[in-house]
C-alpha cells in the first residue's frame, strides 16, 4: 500500500465519467490522498455494516458485491473496471449495505470519503458527475428489483444471457463471465436450479458446455425472454 495514486493508474481513474470533467487541481487533490492496492482473489475488501471511509475504484479485476442475512448469502452485483462502488455509502458517511470481495486478482484505488465530499463542495462538474453516477446506480438497482419481482428464474436467466451477449458484443457464441454458482446467486436461485433453467432453455435453442453458451435461434430466445428496455437496457 502507498499513498498517492501512481502515474500509471491516474489516467484510468481520470477517464471515469465521475472524474473526467473536473478541474485538474481538484483531481490531483483527490489523487494525493488516495491509495492503490493489489488484492489476490477472494479477499473481503468490505464488510457490510462497517463505516464507509473510502470510495473504491476498481482499476482491474472484478469484485463481487454481496449481502448476508440470517446465515444466507446472496450476490447483489459485480463491479468491473473501470468503475466505482459504494459511492452512496461514501457520500452519506453511512455504513456499507453490501460486502465486497475480489473475484480475481484486482487492482483497486481507495479515495478517502472525506476528500470526495470536500472536492464535491468546490467543483460543480464533480458534483454533477456524482449526481449522474448515483442516479445511474439507483436506476440500475430498480431494474434488477423489477426483474426479481416480475420474472421467473428461467426468464431471468434468458434475459441475462441476452444482456451478456449484447454487452460483450457477441454473436451466437460467448462465454459466461463467472462461475455458475455465483451466477445462480446473482440471479436469485440455487445452483441446482440454474442447471435446470439452462436445460429448460434448450427448448429455445440455448446450449451450454462449461462456460460456453450457444444461442442457435436468437429470435426464438427473444420471443421467450421478452426483453424490455426498462429492465434490460444498461443505460436509459
Amino acid at each position: 500500500m502507498r499513498l498517492g495514486i501512481p502515474e500509471s493508474d491516474s489516467p484510468d481513474v481520470r477517464r471515469l465519467d465521475l472524474f473526467s470533467g473536473m478541474d485538474d487541481a481538484h483531481f490531483s487533490a483527490l489523487m494525493r490522498g488516495a491509495y492503490v492496492q493489489n488484492f489476490p482473489p477472494q479477499i473481503e475488501l468490505i464488510t457490510e455494516g462497517e463505516p464507509s471511509d473510502f470510495l473504491h475504484v476498481i482499476l482491474s479485476g472484478s469484485v463481487d458485491l454481496f449481502s448476508v442475512w440470517n446465515g444466507r448469502e446472496t450476490s447483489m452485483a459485480t463491479a468491473r473496471p473501470v468503475s466505482t462502488f459504494i459511492l452512496a455509502a461514501s457520500i452519506k458517511s453511512a455504513p456499507y449495505l453490501m460486502s465486497a470481495r475480489t473475484l480475481e486478482k484486482s487492482r483497486i484505488a481507495l479515495i478517502p470519503s472525506q476528500d470526495v465530499r470536500n472536492i464535491f463542495d468546490v467543483d460543480n462538474f464533480f458534483a454533477r458527475a456524482i449526481v449522474a453516477e448515483l442516479a445511474q446506480c439507483y436506476r440500475s438497482v430498480v431494474k434488477t428489483k423489477k426483474e426479481l419481482k416480475l420474472r421467473t428464474s428461467q426468464e431471468r436467466l434468458a434475459n441475462y444471457l441476452l444482456r451478456l451477449q449484447a454487452r460483450v458484443g457477441a454473436g451466437s457464441q460467448f462465454d459466461l463471465e463467472f462461475e455458475k454458482r455465483r451466477l445462480a446467486s446473482y440471479l436469485g436461485m440455487t445452483p441446482e436450479n440454474l442447471s435446470r433453467a439452462f436445460r429448460g432453455l434448450q427448448a429455445y435453442g440455448v446450449t451450454v458446455q462449461g462456460n460456453r453458451v450457444n444461442i442457435s435461434d436468437q429470435q426464438d430466445l427473444e420471443r421467450f425472454a421478452k426483453p424490455n428496455p426498462l429492465i434490460d437496457d444498461p443505460d436509459s
Copy 2:
C-alpha cells in the same frame, strides 16, 4: 392547474430536506415554474417509459409506484407526504422506470426537471441535498432488494409489521396503511399467500382483524423476524 406554487403550499415544499438549505432566490425561481394539482384516487400520474419532464413532490395523500412486465404488475414503493419521487429520472432526463398512481385524493407539486437541473448548477446547497436524497433512495432500494432475495414471504411480512409498528410509533396495536392486496404486491407475494403468511404468524402472537394488527408478544415476533438495521432501518 395553475402556474406557480401558491403561498399555502410553498412552506411545505420548502421544508423538505431537498429544498430546506437552498438560497431563497433559487427556491423562488424553482417554485415559479412549478404547478400544484389535486388528483382524485386511482389516477395514473406517470407511465413508465415516458420522458421525465417533472420532479414530483407529494404534498398530501399517497402515491403508489409500480411496474409492469409481460402482463404482470408489482408495487415497488409508496410515496407519502412530504417527499419527492422519480428524482433520478428527472436528473438524468431519462424515461421513468416506474409508473405512479394516486392511492387516495392527493395534492402534488410538479417542478420542471430542466429548472431543477439549472438551479442545481448554481446552488451548492441544493446540489448537496440532491446527492443526499439520491443516495438515500439508492440505499432504500438496495435494502428492499436484499430483503427480497434473503427472506421468505413470511419473514418479509413479519419484518414489515415491525417496521410499520416502529414508523407509526405504536405499541402492540396499529392499523395497516393500505389494502392487503397492495401490501401483498409490495411484499412480493399473492394476496392468498399474504393471508396464509398472516395465519402463519399467529404462532408468534400476531393477529389481524381487518386492518387492525395486534402483536401480543413482541419478543417472540422479533425472534422469528430477526430484523437487521442493514435491511430494516429506514435511515443508516
